[in-house]
Amino acid sequence: MFFAKVIGTVWATRKDENLRNFKLQFIQPLNARREEIGTPLVAVDTVGAGPGETVFYITAREAVIPLPVEMAPVDASIVGIIDRIDVSKT
């Protein structure tokens, strides 16, 4: 699981039919102190996150599990919206 900030939305009419009614969000990975790390990616949004919200997402084949379809070519899915992060000073 990774943290990210939602920075935008991707609109695509011509796509794999199993992605028919999923929202595709553009997200910027963050570290635990909410600093931007790495390059943005696109994830299916299964929880209805809005722009600017901090979320956590899963990658690889597991990203298909939250989706209500048997098969879908998805390698990143937003699975939660973060309220608060408590990080000890290490």
Partner: protein, 89 residues
């Protein structure tokens, strides 16, 4: 998934027989402003993207989650042609 732009096509007659009938597009990665980066991937096209189209590419074993690429030796697949990208700054 990552954003990319289709910049070309690969034709190969001698290949793994499981790949017969698939179209291989060369997809260069792009940034938020569609500016070309210097990395690229060869991806199987499942949505009939054309050269110049901005597309989404899924990689890894998720790439086998389509009817066309199921159980095939494929690790990157074009899953969508992007119409519009809304990015809040």
């Amino acid at each position: 998934m990552v954003l990319g732009k289709v910049v070309g096509t690969i034709w190969a007659t001698r290949k793994d027989e499981e790949l017969v009938g698939m179209k291989f597009q060369i997809v260069k990665h792009v940034d938020l402003n569609y500016k070309l980066k210097d990395t690229f991937v060869v991806a199987v096209d499942t949505v009939q993207a054309g050269v110049g189209d901005v597309v989404l590419v899924t990689s890894g074993s998720s790439a086998r989650q389509t009817a066309l690429t199921k159980n095939r030796p494929v690790d990157a697949v074009i899953i969508a042609v992007v119409d519009k990208l809304d990015v809040s700054d």
